[in-house]
């Protein structure tokens, strides 16, 4: 299968290891990965902040970038960005009165998948250790991000994939379905409420005794990881793609400098 990777802007610029892991997993399964060159961002930040006019060129760029290349499916390591591509792009086009863009956005959205969706529903991955060689000997917990859970209905796909990783120990996160408090510009406009939500999330994470908290959205993980770092907990965050890509021979480093850890998890 020829798979177009939508890295997402935050992963592209801040968490490239997540996109590299995504490429690694898909190539290991024998698929060809392409990176549509014109891609940038889904535009969700603009839409969710009310800047629809400014969102339009971002949305139009994404649609153009993902209709230029020949590929079977597109994939992004983010529930939130995929939900934006699938739902918000149509709304933005409609609101700006661009019916042509709306139809094209619908076509791109229809073949765009979140990573766990693609792995489980399309590529039939049920056992990461057996099918991907995934090995990650750490005690982790897992936060399901809201948009993957409620807009894409990912269910336990990410968690089930993580459970099937060799050597892993999964600790259940209490009140896992509660929002971490990120919410895009909400984290700045309503910083006090966002921080209060974050404090409850990080307390729950630390209570599990896990070395790190895995998730499927880099932005939520940046928020949670930023809080864990500020509180000096020594606990860090990691995208589930990196855990799936980790093998015995080439283990994922849990203490890299973009991880914000104090080293407790470095083994």
């Amino acid at each position: 299968m020829r798979i177009a990777l939508f890295a997402t802007c935050i992963v592209d610029a801040m968490y490239p290891a997540t996109a590299r892991a995504t490429v690694s997993i898909l190539e290991r399964l024998g698929h060809e990965v392409i990176f549509p060159a014109g891609q940038a961002c889904c535009g969700q930040m603009h839409v969710n902040s009310g800047y629809l006019k400014e969102a339009l060129p971002v949305v139009a760029n994404h649609v153009k970038a993902f209709e230029d290349d020949e590929y079977d499916v597109a994939v992004a390591p983010s529930g939130s960005c995929v939900a934006s591509v699938k739902h918000q792009h149509l709304m933005v086009a409609r609101r700006c009165g661009d019916a042509g863009l709306e139809a094209r956005a619908a076509a791109v959205g229809a073949k765009t998948y979140e990573l766990s969706q693609l792995l489980v529903d399309v590529l039939g991955v049920t056992d990461a250790a057996a099918q991907l060689g995934s090995y990650f000997p750490h005690r982790i917990t897992y936060h399901p991000s809201c948009h993957g859970m409620r807009l894409l209905r990912l269910g336990d796909r990410q968690l089930d994939l993580l459970r099937s990783v060799g050597g892993i120990e999964l600790a259940e996160l209490p009140e896992a379905d509660q929002c971490c408090g990120f919410g895009g510009t909400f984290s700045m406009k309503n910083a006090d409420v966002s921080s209060a939500m974050l404090a409850d999330k990080t307390a729950n994470i630390c209570g599990t005794g896990a070395d790190l908290c895995a998730g499927g959205d880099a932005s939520c993980l940046m928020h949670i990881g930023g809080g864990l770092s500020r509180q000096g907990t020594g606990v860090t965050t990691m995208h589930f793609a990196e855990i799936l890509a980790s093998t015995l021979e080439n283990p994922a480093a849990v203490s890299g400098d973009v991880r914000l850890t104090t080293g407790r998890t470095a083994r």
């Binding site: 592209d12 891609q39 009310g50 510009t185």
Partner: protein
Amino acid sequence: MSGTFLGMPSLPVFGIGNLHEHEPFPKAARRELGNPQLRANLGHATRTIRDKRLAVVSELPDWEELREAGRAIKESVMTRLPELLEEFEANFTARGGTIHWARDAGEANSIVAALIRDQGATEVVKVKSMATQEIGLNEYLEEQGIAAYETDLAELIVQLDHDKPSHILVPAIHKNRSQVRDIFLREMEGVDPELTNEPARLAAAARAHLRRKFLSAKVAVSGANFALADSGTLAVVESEGNGRMCLTLPETLITVMGVEKLLPGWEDLEVFMQLLPRSSTGERMNPYTSLWTGVTPDDGPQNVHLVLLDNGRSAALADEMGRSALHCIRCSACMNVCPVYERTGGHAYGSTYPGPIGAILSPLLTGITAEENNSLPYASSLCGACYDACPVKINIPDILVHLRGEDVDSKRGKNRRKRAMPSQMDVGMKAASWALSSGKNLGLVEKALPLGRLAAGPDRKITKLPGIAAGWTQSRDIPAPPGQSFRQWWNKEHRAARPDAAPAAGTDAAGTDAPGPGSAGTEENP
């Protein structure tokens, strides 16, 4: 609204009354977050109701179909509201009731006060009602020399404490039982000075207090949960039975109801009687459902009035994206699941309608251009829990985003007219729109990543940012950016290992770096 006065009243009429923030939400939220008693009470109470709701909802195999039916019925009511209202009026009037139409809160208040005065009454008993909270009826009546006694236990607690409700179903959710005992001891006439904080003793004290009012009141004021157009019937759904006392004992009954509460007929009520109790109190069925149709000679109230209230509802109905907010049946499920509400409580929203529904309904009723309400649509992380819980499937997150768009556009217009400087957010969003609307531009920006790395310093994290970004660093660090973006890695290393692949825009594809190892995806940055 237009800044030019054209000599005509502007339409539509926006809502007035208790529908506004008193201060911007972030500021009010900050104060409420500082109240540990409030946080503890709210956390406990919302969690309890949340669990109860989940249990009774999961018993129903057709819950999703019920939600869809509720949504569809409400949508059809909104599309033919004028004819249904006329049908209701004809049937209600034919059965001896009297209809009054109120354009806004002011009209509704004066109609109710005049009706009470006609009876020569100076006090009324009240059934718990959101509509009368919205129009500020109690305060208005007090100015007119009429005492209004709330009979719902929680409303009574709030009223005795000269406080405001903080939740639409459990208005005293922010008070615990020791606080309730103190309020009763301080404010309730003839209360036993030995009163303890046992729930049964508190309820008994309230019962004794209320019984005196029920037996003496000549006039009752209520809201209504539903109105059935095909028979002219009104319905009140409650738990305590105090509402039924008000609805049956006094000679005169005055109901104030928003026009959107209408249902076509009895078979529609069946759907909502399954949706409402489960969503609000987490019960299969509420203890008391009272239905009345006009006047029954020698039985119950003999003067039956209904004030049909617009107060911004027509304006909300005119908003194609936002109108489904009028489907709300005031169950409060959305606030019980909202992580923002759980932490700030209802007072932070200012309006009678707090929580996620309040964050859309209040600005829709008052108009989003009402400056005092324009921080409400931002009072959400857009987690979507409210949409999942809503028994009539109001897509609250989408409407929040719609209202944010309206707010940004309205400010854009105002700034242009005032030739004001754009805000930091405006400037940032414009710059981001440029950077994120082409791979080439984003690639250029990514060339600056090493600068961010430099700014992060030796501990590899950024802990303080200026301006609006300071909101981020108040509780979170930012990691040092990576040495190279994914795009750069793809072109320099991954693509180099596969010469047939196309270069990503915004990078020097013909870079001089040596080809990397290729497919290993987990190696850390240099």
